[in-house]
Subunit: 112 residues, 2 copies
């Protein structure tokens, strides 16, 4: 029952959402996540995730020069990635509703 477990299956959707706002590279995403209120997310988490999503053709990358340091890999969504993001948002909202219902003890009607 840790914060790391709670992120499972959620982080990938969050990265898609971040990329959707604006092209972004891995190293920057950690701090971006932080801005949104997440605790520090390891690069050992982010990079494998990005590579997996690229393999699944949800995102594609372009290498560009950095102002300071090695080249960056900027990611953007594919059409498939945009669909995956919409799907994630839907599933998140379902979960959100369910968990909040439990916490606030609001049992839904069966027929809904």
């Amino acid at each position: 029952m840790s914060q790391t477990q709670m992120l499972k299956g959620i982080l990938d959707g969050c990265l898609l959402a971040i990329i959707n706002v604006k092209e972004c590279y891995g190293y920057e995403m950690a701090s971006r996540l932080n801005d949104y209120g997440f605790d520090y997310v390891s690069e050992g988490t982010i990079y494998p995730l990005l590579m997996r999503m690229q393999r699944e053709e949800l995102i594609i990358s372009t290498r560009r020069k950095s102002t300071a340091g090695p080249k960056r890999k900027y990611y953007r969504l594919t059409d498939k990635g945009e669909k995956a993001l919409q799907d994630f948002i839907y599933r998140w909202e379902q979960l959100d509703k369910s968990v909040n219902a439990i916490i606030h003890r609001e049992i839904r009607e069966k027929g809904e």
Copy 2:
């Protein structure tokens, strides 16, 4: 990026919340979760989870006769379990806020 991954680290808190409302036994919890809007959660998920939480002294069980079938194990929260539930709710609300901020593109101020 499946529904099953999204439940990780969340199901245990949800079960604590359910038990907190009213003593409950494993078999019943599946349908209770369903009432709250969750998809079917396997018994192969629920029972090991209950046993783990009992081992961690978050819940304790009492065997009682069933109206039809073998004895039920009714669970209730310990003091430690109540604290764990409060802790879960806090962490859930943090996550909830963060994910919704990302989805709705509301970047928080750093100083907050």
